[in-house]
């Protein structure tokens, strides 16, 4: 066999920035510095074009049409499924179910698998650093089924206390639903260890990949998770399209979620039989345009190279962390050893919202508040944080602008 040569494409942030038109706009008369990527990432022109091209050229309802437009739209829609399958290394395309986003994916599992498999006295394990989307669906389920919700605590660095996790596991544990990367802290959780240990006691594991999918290489087979959910809009794709991955065997045995068109095989008033995977879970006309554009976003990420982006983002994280630490009174919330390019912080005697308002006036977009993780904020004894989250198109110059903006805000508030 011929020797394979790996050519690593060079990562040029200036070239990447050119793909994102919004980065050229001004906010409050200053060039936008967009550091709210953990909330939603900006979209490359190719994604925007794909949406427009779909509506301009082949808008049609998919799957049942026999005309050309319907065929083209169906082909493009299904092409995204295969791209997603490859992107997260799933075994089969039918393991990819399109949803509105991570939240819907988690709820789908709670309402189908959960209702079927969780019984009185069973235990579900989550962690303190979960987003409300990975807390509330399980609370609802536990209440309905008289099951028990157990919570893995975190240490002061914002890392899961793994000993506590192992102690919580028992034959009563039926499900572990854990966030891959914390949206409030940036912590990358040891999901492989969690999944293996949970499987030992016969539990099923759901991974909330809302924050991880854009930063990390996702291999659901290696990870061996049973469910994995993510949102397209955080991976440079459109809003309103997400993915739920589930192991085929599990999905096949799960009850249906929503009833309607597409999800059926045959309907009579006596009995309805359901469609095969994945259509069984895609009732009604789906979000065709955004699904098609999601492929373009994932192709874009693949073309840049996830490892290239990760390397660059890690450098940016290190630089930003060092610079932020120089600001007197600033305390970073979340100092895990393994982090993605996201920094949450508080400044002594200053409300995060005041920082947010004054940064916005300087054209700098950050997020302030509790980040839909109120139990985590309570754990750290704070009402909220300022969060700067970096994407592959952010630069060191933008970090410098953030630092200067913060210094100015602090001076004004002093």
């Amino acid at each position: 066999m011929a020797e394979s040569i790996t050519i690593t494409p060079t990562f040029d942030v200036n070239e990447i920035r050119k793909s994102f038109p919004v980065l050229e706009r001004e906010v409050n008369n200053k060039l936008l510095v967009y550091l709210d990527n953990a909330a939603t990432a900006q979209k490359p022109q190719s994604v925007i074009d794909a949406l427009s091209y779909y509506y301009s050229n082949y808008n049609a309802n998919i799957h049942r049409g026999i005309h050309s437009l319907a065929e083209e739209a169906t082909a493009a829609y299904e092409a995204t499924r295969v791209t997603v399958q490859k992107f997260i290394h799933a075994s089969y395309p039918e393991e990819i179910i399109f949803t509105r986003g991570t939240t819907e994916g988690i709820n789908l599992v709670a309402y189908t698998w959960g209702r079927q498999n969780i019984h009185a006295g069973d235990e579900i394990i989550i962690s303190t650093m979960e987003h409300h989307s990975n807390i509330v669906p399980w609370q609802i389920l536990c209440e309905e089924k008289h099951a028990v919700l157990k919570v893995v605590p975190v240490n002061d660095n914002g890392e899961l206390l793994m000993d506590e996790f192992h102690n919580l596991l028992s034959p009563k544990t039926k499900l572990v639903s854990i966030v891959h990367v914390s949206n409030a802290l940036g912590t990358i959780n040891p999901v492989k260890e969690i999944i293996d240990a949970a499987h030992e006691v016969g539990a099923v594991v759901m991974v909330d990949g809302a924050q991880s999918t854009v930063h990390l290489t996702i291999d659901v087979q290696k990870m061996n998770c049973d469910f994995f959910a993510f949102s397209g809009h955080k991976v440079y794709g459109p809003t309103g399209i997400g993915v739920l991955y589930g192991k085929k065997k599990i999905l096949e045995n799960m009850p249906v979620f929503m009833g309607g068109g597409e999800m059926i095989k045959e309907v009579t008033f006596e009995k309805t039989t359901y469609n095969n995977l994945p259509y069984k879970y895609e009732a009604g006309t789906p979000n065709i345009a955004d699904t098609i554009a999601l492929k373009v976003a994932l192709d874009y990420v693949t073309e840049v190279g996830k490892s290239n982006a990760k390397k660059y983002e890690t450098e940016l994280l290190q630089y930003a962390t060092e610079e932020l630490k120089k600001i007197p009174g600033l305390r970073i919330i979340g100092n895990a050893k393994n982090k993605v390019s996201l920094i949450s912080f508080v400044i002594e005697n200053i409300h995060p919202q005041d920082i947010g308002v004054l940064l916005d006036n300087q054209g700098i977009a950050v997020r302030t508040g509790h980040h839909c993780t109120q139990p985590l904020m309570k754990r750290f004894g704070i009402p909220g944080t300022v969060r700067a989250s970096f994407a592959m198109y952010n630069t060191r110059e933008e970090v410098d602008k953030l630092i200067a903006g913060l210094q100015k805000a602090i001076k004004m508030l002093a």
Binding site: Q353, V357, L358, N361, G369, H370, P383
Partner: protein, 149 residues
Amino acid sequence: MSDKKSIKETEDEIIEAFSWFENWEEKYEYIIELGKKLPELDEKYKKEENIIKGCQSTVWLVADYHDGKIFYQADSDAIIVKGLVSMLISVLSEHTPDEILNSKLDFIREIGMMSHLAQTRSNGLVAMIKQIKNYALAFKSVNAENIVQ
């Protein structure tokens, strides 16, 4: 007789003050200053029933009614919101329920602070204005009842 200015007069004064500012920094420094000057609400008033909860910051509002006028006191844990709260109080406090109910609060737009009202979920300001008017409505009906009696 009190020398309290009318709502419109106070609004005009604020608009006048803001017209002198040349940039956003001066505007916000002024608002921050107002926030710092507004006396902190007594702890005894910082109870659940007086909280107007925003998603991020909290506003406390207390209202007293005597001599036909409403006296408001308020506070916030975020200083810019507190500055805006301070302006609202200076405009609306010590007026009759009718005056308060009829106020349009155009000065907020005039001084370029509408964006703070658009953040409905985050800072509680819109909810605060609503609550201020709710108090006015409540005191007005109390007033009407007394007259009937």
